[in-house]
């Protein structure tokens, strides 16, 4: 018996197949979920993957957040279901207010695609226990709207509670406040980040390393040992 991890496909999702593959590489069972379907098929965790759901119209993630599947994801995330939002998924999680702050266009106004160096700053979340604290990793980053913003009180709270899970190193690629690449909710079950760990799970592709794989092995261990 292994863990079943759902991957939601919205109209405009791009990385659902890669995410399913990463889950399989880690040893878990990916389960395809559909944006119009409230049913989460009894999965043990959910990944909201990258792309341009609903064309990023209005704001990135703003329309996806009101899709039928998100009604259930929001309810269950509040009850402890592990949820990982990658890129567009992170944007959806902020729009759904499962994570604080918001995402805006990159400060340089260009799409960016690069291998990004990050530091793992919180290894206690459901998705990061297989990293070591302070570990430096390389993961592909590709986005238009990657600038994390929040008011000063929220930033202070995130910093004080150790809820900045990932921070950009060397280069801040989009003007994110405090070099924030990813954050977690207070309970540690909901994590969002802009870079794409699902693209870095095999040595042949991506950054040539497997620095993204621990996201998926972390959640597998948590679910199997639960």
């Amino acid at each position: 018996m292994t863990a079943r991890i759902g991957v939601v496909t919205f109209p405009g999702s791009l990385d659902d197949r890669d995410t399913q593959r990463a889950i399989r590489v880690a040893g878990a069972e990916p389960v395809a979920l559909w944006h119009k379907d409230k049913d989460l098929k009894q999965v043990d965790a959910v990944v909201l993957c990258g792309g341009f759901s609903y064309g990023d119209y209005l704001r990135a993630g703003a329309i996806a957040r009101f899709s039928p599947v998100m009604d259930t994801v929001i309810d269950q995330a509040k009850a402890g279901l592990p949820v990982l939002g990658i890129c567009n998924g992170f944007q959806i999680l902020t729009e759904a207010h499962l994570l604080p702050g918001g995402m805006l266009g990159n400060d340089h106004l260009h799409f960016i695609c690069r291998d990004q160096k990050l530091r793992v700053e919180n290894t206690d979340t459901a998705w990061t226990t297989d990293y070591s604290a302070g570990q430096e990793i390389h993961i592909p980053l590709k986005n238009m709207d990657g600038r994390y913003v929040a008011d000063q009180r929220t930033l202070d709270e995130l910093e004080a509670e150790g809820r900045v899970a990932f921070r950009y190193l060397d280069v801040n690629p989009n003007g994110s406040l405090n070099d924030i690449a990813g954050i977690t909710n207070a309970a540690g079950n909901v994590v969002g980040l802009m870079p794409h760990p699902e693209h870095a799970v095999e040595p042949l592709i991506g950054t040539g390393r497997t620095d993204g794989l621990p996201f998926f092995t972390s959640i597998l261990k948590k679910l199997v040992n639960a």
Partner: protein
């Protein structure tokens, strides 16, 4: 039929690189004396029936929950008089 306009702007403290890019282009186009530009969104809602207090309250809720993300944006709601002659 009546029109309700919802204007959405980034909060003042949030950097608006699109507005800055527009502002920087102005001198090249011969427009001087404009020190700052901020870019926002305008929604025009054509409302069936009367725009009474209840209708405006519903539109306010819509703006607050969907048209604007109040974590990063402010919004205003106003009724626009549509001149008969313009119809």
């Amino acid at each position: 039929m009546a029109r309700v306009v919802v204007d959405v702007m980034l909060k003042p403290e949030i950097l608006d690189p699109q507005g800055q890019a527009v502002q920087r282009a102005l001198p090249r186009l011969g427009f001087e004396g404009i020190s700052d530009v901020r870019q926002g969104k305008r929604f025009e809602l054509e409302v069936d029936g009367p725009v009474d207090e209840a209708a405006l309250a519903r539109i306010h809720d819509l703006a607050e929950s969907f048209l604007a993300n109040t974590v990063i944006e402010d919004f205003t709601v106003r009724v626009e008089e549509v001149a008969e002659a313009a119809k």
